[in-house]
Point group: C2
Chain length 292, copies 2
Amino acid sequence: MTKASEPAATTASSDPTDGLHPLDDTVQLQHEGGDVFSGRTTPAYANMVGPFGGATAACMLNACCVHPQRLGDPVSITVNFAGPIADGPFRIVARPVRTNRSTQHFSLELTQPGDEAVLTTATAVFAARRDTWSATEAKFPDHPMPSPDSPLQGRMFRKKRVAWIGNYDMRFVHGTFPHPDHPMPGTDSVTSLWINDLPPRPLDFISLVAISDCFFPRIYLRRQRVAPAGTVSMTTYFHANRASFERQGIRPMLATARAQRFSEGFFDQSAEIWADDGELLATSHQIVYFKD
Amino acid sequence: MTKASEPAATTASSDPTDGLHPLDDTVQLQHEGGDVFSGRTTPAYANMVGPFGGATAACMLNACCVHPQRLGDPVSITVNFAGPIADGPFRIVARPVRTNRSTQHFSLELTQPGDEAVLTTATAVFAARRDTWSATEAKFPDHPMPSPDSPLQGRMFRKKRVAWIGNYDMRFVHGTFPHPDHPMPGTDSVTSLWINDLPPRPLDFISLVAISDCFFPRIYLRRQRVAPAGTVSMTTYFHANRASFERQGIRPMLATARAQRFSEGFFDQSAEIWADDGELLATSHQIVYFKD
């Protein structure tokens, strides 16, 4: 059995702007004692309303990672986006509600000063994993990486008003952001893209959970236009371990997503994040609100 | 927008044995006031250790459904199986942590008398859904239903010591429980089966969430033998509404599941539950611990 070792993720630093990667900056937390951690949104990961959901998920996961009672590494996390987070400080309470011999369950809530309402909830499972029989059934899509100057590299997407996009190198293989100049049939909602933190950053659980929320809403593809939409709940399962991260380093990953059903204002999305050597790093699922 | 109307599910009754369906019996809750509900396990849904996870998930969902402040119907639920539930009484605290105009977020914990530790946590999203554009991208498998005397109907599975299996009519199309007399190649972990509550019971959210945990561990298929395994966290997305339930009535559903990756003691599973008319009722995902 692997031992719980050094923290999996970013710990708080006294100077948030001291040459940190923007992702490490945005997930920075101060331990206020007990189960309480304080953090704040950063402009780099701003979305249309509040922060990018992937950044919020990364903050929630980081609160578990830096918790003094943490056991092992992340196995799964579910993040529920209950209400809009305002730009500014927030508080995360991360309770390790149950610690077994080799697994640990966290329950988390995020609030902001002056607002009693809970804005984000989460549950996470950590484990000290050990070697077993292993196999991957999902098929590696193995799409070649488009060149940096590909017309599909997501430049149109990046031009939109949302800041967080600027922290990712996105090169779409197919299912890119809809654009009047590039009409697509819209018969399915599949997107495949090569994606990397920008600037490149050594892969870890924090980056992986943020990237699992990198897809624009699938409804855009099916309707070939932008519509109000937002993730309500996201669950990510981690298959990668620290050795996977060392192998992957700072190279881009292949990410794919598709919806299964759209109905009555919600659709579900299932996604896969693959290492460039064909290792399935994470599978992720979400249910998304949309207006039509 | 549809209005929050009559409770979606089973409310508490004064006599738990009064001709109730075993599922309605096992999810029965007494409202103790505020956010607190009391229930108890029933022998009919016993698993090898503690109750069938699907029954526990159904109890957690029911606590939200019968909560006096409930808004709308279930959109998603994540249930984390943190520790073994002993046979006997339990207490569920179901807090509506955030209620928006048309969505509501619950956080739940299950405990048992004399044990301070949390045994199950959950988060759930409810919504007053409204008509929108709709489409289903997942493909209905449309397997014909095996006859009741099919050798693959799961009789072998049902003979095992677990009681809960007796509450389901399971007719396997493929990927049945491994058995020395019926060797299978074990090259994938796909199971498809027709399934129904036994005795048949009008479909609702409660039945649907229980059925989303009906699959035996995928590791059995790949290794062609039984191994210690248990669901750690399960997430179900509900696509069905009350009209879907009225159409489906008490007829069997087609359920499929497959794993995506097995590694270091955990695998993930993605499942679909289909109405017999080809409507995708729910998609469900879980991460499962296994020993090899």
